[in-house]
Symmetry: C2
Subunit: 211 residues, 2 copies
């Protein structure tokens, strides 16, 4: 009688949920549509009723990844943990640190797709580039708020730290987030020398160091 509480009865949502779980965990190339429909408990024809091809499903997955991971976790989490732009930039690596300790650490799906689909003309590859660009837009926004000299260059450097630490975590380095955060503090300190010397940074640094 009393079944599971709202077992995501909607087939479309079940497909999207299963795609998110399987694609993010094992990659879009390793997971076939059969695995997704089996995990979702729907018929394959139902999937192809909503998506013309697997590629379109992958694109929908990446949109969802941006909503959940980029916006719902990185941006919201960083904004919640610190008030100043410098503190929010550093807080990204606090989030990463917790992320890297998880046994089901799955890496950045945009990086994974970018490298899995090497054809630069492929729409899925281009979508990965676009979603990574959107992450950088958030970093650039924070950099502008922090008043750095070159917000675009700064966001690129910060993103290099993020991506490098994610790959390092994929190797098994659980301290990669702290290592990248240390470098990030140097980046901020170098900016503060020539821009300003507000106390927000030291506050965020103390908070991060204390842990």
């Amino acid at each position: 009688m009393c079944e599971s509480p709202t077992p995501t009865r909607n087939p479309l949502e079940r497909i999207l949920d299963s795609s998110y779980e399987l694609f993010s965990q094992h990659g879009v190339r390793a997971v076939g549509v059969d695995a997704i429909v089996a995990h979702a408990g729907v018929a394959k024809m139902t999937l192809y009723r909503y998506f013309a091809s697997k590629d379109e499903l992958v694109l929908a997955f990446m949109e969802r990844r941006e909503q959940r991971w980029t916006k719902g976790w990185v941006q919201a989490g960083a904004s919640h943990r610190a008030a100043s732009p410098e503190g929010r930039l550093l807080a990204i690596f606090d989030l990463f640190d917790e992320w890297f300790q998880r046994d089901d650490f799955e890496g950045c799906s945009f990086i994974n797709v970018l490298l899995e689909i090497d054809d630069r003309q492929h729409p899925v590859h281009q979508a990965a580039v676009r979603h990574l660009f959107n992450i950088r837009a958030f970093l650039k926004h924070l950099a502008e708020e922090a008043g750095v000299r070159d917000p675009d260059g700064f966001s690129r450097r910060w993103h290099i730290l993020m991506k490098g630490s994610i790959v390092a975590a994929g190797e098994g380095d659980r301290g990669a987030a702290r290592a990248a955060q240390d470098v990030g503090r140097l980046l901020l300190a170098a900016e503060d020398i020539t821009v300003d010397h507000s106390e927000h940074v030291s506050k965020a640094s103390r908070q991060a160091v204390a842990r």
Copy 2:
């Protein structure tokens, strides 16, 4: 009569050469054994005479990648371009800068394999981790020579910059090497403040900046 000058008549070498070209360019998952034997101009049975499985061929490819890329290009190139350990660390990004401008930029095969084969127990995945560790061993050696406080941590941070810039180049950012090099200079400068103030760094920095 006069055929192509020594067309790598040896079938084993033809297989290894084709594996290197195709695997490094398109990834070990996207390239099948049929494509390799076709490119090498050998019979499939010849491949399976020398390698028990595709996985073993991939392992042989990664060994060759370490010989050619890690040792023959990164380590030899950095050692040739600068004499001091600090200069050699920075020279890595000079090499990367030229690499990133190439139209056939293929990325780091070890990172690609690491993310393509997500199973941490898989020997190919573990081999990728090992080859990345070997790169870090070279960085650690330079860090020790430079006299940094924490050579292991320093090599991890430097490697994060390398890996992050490679991913950024995969996105299409042709300036990623210079961006990472700028951050690398900050790392070296931070070390010099607390360790020593030898002139090698400033020499290397001048050399790198002057270009």
